[in-house]
């Protein structure tokens, strides 16, 4: 190691660059120096510092975290490759300390014995969990079937190794039972009992994993067998004998997935009452968004009733007045609908009616009184200044009162 380091230094460096550490841990073995330095959270200086502490390695331009750091994370997260070998070291250490303790009954050896018993317990469980995860992952995601078979066989070996270790540990416990009971140490007693229980449990778990591995290997074998069969079928098919020399027709006819039987997705009609509820409204909005229908978007969901709702009754007032407003509009012929609404002087009780309100009123009237209005389908422009004082203009359709025209015609006819 290049520098003298202490725990504090390493921890603070790791913490300081936790973003980078996390990133590198997630993307092991494919991040180049340039990519790493391009990140905003790592300066050149920090990078050099981490390298000098041996927290980062660089090999052929690819950056990787120190293996010790990666291993630590993997241990905590119970992922990564299964490495049962070190359990053996623990067992040997345990045996060594037991020997020491047999010679001199000193407390320090007892402490080490406890430590290693605990470690063995934790390590065994962790390795087994990793084994399970790896076996599953290999079966589901390894793309090359030859590698897949090999890997599964390897895991089978590893499983045997772990079983050996479990047996070994059991032996050690059995041999030293007398010694342990002599110590009269309740903590040790608890640890040994916990270890025994978990050994039995782990053994069960391993048997399960074994069945899984066998199952997976059989499945792969099945796939390979079926592939041979598929090739034979194809051969038969190429000879034009598929329908005669095999029971292809019967088998395929009896297949039941709905996809191959022309079953269309269910078409259920929705109750109109439901559409008027809030849930129905959400549904309507989804449909409206999908098909870009603005009409369905009009009706909003009923919001929460505010505490001072009595004062806000004004809003309703505008709605109630619409009909009269339209009547008045129909009675005049000076303005088109938009102009009429813009210049209309609303009663003071309503308060200040903003441009937006007038525009929504315009839309509302246009939609509701479609039949009594004459749509000219011609655009006119209205210019105004917005809140920021900028010049804006909006186009609107010219809408005239139809009744007027009819009256004129009638008058003409009368004349």
């Amino acid at each position: 190691m290049a520098l003298q380091v202490n725990v504090n230094d390493i921890l603070s460096q790791l913490y300081h660059n936790r973003g980078v550490v996390e990133f590198l841990f997630a993307n092991r073995e494919n991040i180049t120096v340039n990519e790493l330095l391009a990140r905003e959270d790592l300066s050149e200086e920090q990078y050099q510092k981490m390298r000098s502490l041996d927290l980062l390695y660089v090999y052929e331009g690819v950056v990787s975290l120190n293996d010790a750091v990666v291993a630590m994370f993997e241990d905590f997260m119970e992922i990564g490759e299964v490495t049962p070998g070190f359990i053996n070291d623990y067992i040997n250490e345990l045996k060594r300390h037991i020997r020491f303790y047999q010679e001199v009954h000193e407390h320090r050896f007892l402490r080490s014995i406890k430590k290693y018993l605990k470690r063995i317990n934790i390590a065994l469980s962790r390795e087994i969990i990793k084994l399970q995860k790896n076996v599953d992952d290999t079966y589901k995601n390894e793309s090359n079937y030859r590698i897949k078979l090999q890997k599964l066989e390897d895991y089978r070996l590893k499983r045997d190794t772990i079983i050996d270790f479990i047996k070994k540990t059991e032996e050690v416990i059995e041999e030293t039972r007398g010694l342990f009971s002599l110590t009269n140490d309740t903590e040790l007693y608890g640890i040994v009992n916990a270890l025994k229980a978990s050994l039995i449990e782990n053994l069960d778990f391993l048997i399960e994993i074994q069945t899984d591995i066998t199952d997976y290997i059989n499945k792969i074998q099945f796939q390979l067998d079926v592939y041979v069969k598929a090739q034979r079928l194809k051969e038969v098919k190429d000879h034009g004998a598929l329908h005669f020399r095999t029971n292809f027709n019967e088998v395929v006819k009896s297949l039941n997935p709905i996809r191959f039987n022309g079953v269309k997705g269910p078409r259920t009609k929705i109750a109109i009452d439901f559409l008027f509820t809030d849930d129905g409204h959400i549904l309507c909005q989804k449909v409206a968004q999908k098909y870009k229908i603005s009409r369905l978007l009009m009706r909003g969901m009923a919001g929460k009733l505010p505490g001072n709702f009595k004062d806000k009754m004004v809003d309703n007032q505008i709605k109630l007045d619409t009909e009269k407003l339209v009547d008045r509009f129909l009675a005049q012929n000076k303005f088109n609908l938009f102009e009429y609404l813009i210049q209309y002087k609303f009663p003071k009780a309503i308060g200040d009616v903003k441009l937006e309100d007038r525009m929504s009123l315009f839309v509302e009237i246009a939609m509701e009184y479609e039949k009594t209005l004459d749509f000219k389908y011609r655009l006119q422009w209205y210019e105004y200044k917005d809140d920021n004082g900028k010049d804006r203009r909006i186009g609107y359709t010219v809408i005239l009162p139809t009744v007027e025209e009819k009256k004129k015609k009638e008058k003409k006819k009368a004349a």
């Binding site: 589901k140 592939y227 069969k229 598929a230 194809k234 051969e235 095999t246 997935p257 022309g262």
Partner: protein, 200 residues
Amino acid sequence: MTAEDFNLPKQTHDIFAIMARGHFISSNGTKDGMGRLYDIINNPENFDRLQAYFNVIRYNIERGNNYFYFSKTSEANSIIEKKLETFERYIDVVDLFASMDNKITIGSRFRPSEIAEECNANVRLKQKLQKIPMYRSETLLNKVRDICDLMSRDSFLELEDEQSESYKVLDAYTYLLDVINAIAIYDDSGDGQGSGIIYN
């Protein structure tokens, strides 16, 4: 009547949405949280409730090896011709996959260009690919793409990464293998080795 009333998992709608389209739910699928949906159906308590719930509308959940799909309790076998055609084509496709140097099986990841490449280099594979009836596919690569597209639509494959065009074979693919396994070849002279056909 909502899913909660039956004490159903809250993903019931998602499950239905996928399976009612005729798709399989595979345990190794990743799109739309498919793996998670699989786990939910696979939970025995959920399975019974979902089965009862869907049975009311005459859908039946069928369980396969690491996949689920819907069958219809009262079904009309009206489109047998199309069904036969579909599976004839699947025999072609599975045969092609089986004859590849690096056999494509469940969990395999591949890109259409890889298959096209191998077919280009191997005359036998090339012939196999060319004989698979697909419409409007001029080049080998496009043909492989069409096949992959077809199989993704039947939810046997999953387009894992659109950028790199990489596909993953889902567990539902076992269904095809099961079908092939179920077909018996008559007057077969024993174990197939005496038939004079050389397999890859």
